[in-house]
């Protein structure tokens, strides 16, 4: 059987054989490669599919796909916002510690005297509170991500244990 005609397109016989599952592995690969760039053959193949009988997908395809999309969305969300929260927390800690003030010296004023140990303690306590809040938020996000992964893992085990 000829897979391709002289102008490089898939023959009608090749498309019909693909539709009926009568192509070997190399021929299927060649067909897939050609369909990945040839619009004309893609439309012909799509038309053959529409005229024929389609195979019913397993019931699990839709829920698994949607679950995977939710998992990826959550991971993207947690990555993005965890980074933002970490950056904001770090900025607050540095600001509370007076780092930004020290970086921009005021030359008209005499250099400030460093705060005494007693004056620093409330600042450190405040910074500690902010860091703890940030950690709590991060832990919540990680728990949620972990729970979603576990749920998906349980669903997958159930599917592949079926015959």
């Amino acid at each position: 059987m000829e897979m391709f005609n002289n102008d490089g397109h898939l023959t009608e016989q090749a498309l019909q054989s693909l539709n009926t599952g009568h192509l070997d592995e190399l021929c299927r690969l060649e067909a897939a490669e050609h369909l990945s760039f040839c619009d004309e053959c893609l439309l012909r193949y799509t038309a053959i599919l529409e005229q024929g009988e389609l195979i019913t997908a397993p019931d699990t395809l839709k829920p698994k796909t949607l679950a995977e999309l939710r998992r990826r969305s959550l991971r993207l969300f947690s990555n993005r916002y965890a980074t933002a929260i970490a950056a904001a927390g770090l900025a607050l800690v540095l600001w509370s510690g007076g780092v930004f003030g020290a970086l921009i010296p005021d030359k008209t004023q005499p250099p400030p005297t460093p705060p005494s140990q007693q004056e620093q303690e409330p600042l450190f306590a405040e910074a500690d509170k902010l860091v703890k809040t940030m950690n709590d938020h991060l832990n919540e996000l990680l728990k949620l991500a972990h729970k979603t992964e576990q749920d998906n893992g349980n669903n997958q085990n159930n599917i592949y244990n079926r015959e």
Binding site: M3, L29, A32, L35, S36, L54, I55, T65, L66, F77
Partner: protein, 189 residues
């Protein structure tokens, strides 16, 4: 209808746009048989077909804004064919091409890359004539690309532009064509 509306509504995962997610779920429901059929026809395996169908829809969701209006079916079929192509290519390479004996790429072989000696040139003329004959016996999609590459000395870029085929596809077809020619040469073809 689907692609443009969904594409305009949202593009990036934000975990919460219920309207687009619902529309996508409807799209999934409507075309899952079509996509699954393509994946099964390409692989012949139900488990693999399910995995590839899932990857197809995930890729479709990511690139919804590129779906042409009114052409969702061929667009999805193409994504499915691409996923199947990647899978089949990997499986084929592992199973067939790594088992091939590549020692045919010797210095006396015109298809090798070593610089020829004067003796090699006189021998290779005869072999070149043989290769020319063999190239003309190749079937498509290898005949044309091998003729242009081995006999007309065209580069992959030039062939890709002339035939309007992707660069990687031309590269793969030349590689497979070369292996077919080497097998025929070894077999005394």
């Amino acid at each position: 209808m689907y692609g443009k509306e969904i594409g305009q509504k949202k593009r990036v995962y934000n975990g919460g746009d219920a309207v687009s997610t619902k529309e996508f779920a409807q799209m999934l429901e409507q075309y899952q048989k079509l996509v699954y059929t393509v994946c099964y026809q390409m692989t012949g395996d139900h488990f693999q077909a399910q995995d590839l169908a899932q990857e197809t829809f995930i890729a479709a969701y990511t690139h919804l804004d590129s779906c042409p209006t009114g052409a969702e079916k061929p667009w999805l079929v193409r994504i499915a064919a691409n996923k199947a192509k990647d899978y089949l290519k990997s499986a084929y390479h592992r199973r067939v091409l790594t088992a091939d004996d590549d020692t045919a790429l010797t210095d006396s072989n015109p298809l090798s890359n070593a610089p020829p000696t004067p003796e090699d040139i006189s021998v290779s003329n005869e072999q070149l004539a043989q290769i020319t004959r063999l190239v003309h016996t190749l079937k498509e999609p290898y005949a044309l690309v091998c003729t242009m590459h081995f006999l007309q000395d065209k580069t992959i870029d030039e062939i890709s532009r002339e035939l309007n085929r992707p660069y990687k596809t031309v590269h793969t077809q030349i590689y497979r064509g070369k292996i077919l020619l080497q097998k025929q040469l070894k077999g005394g073809g």
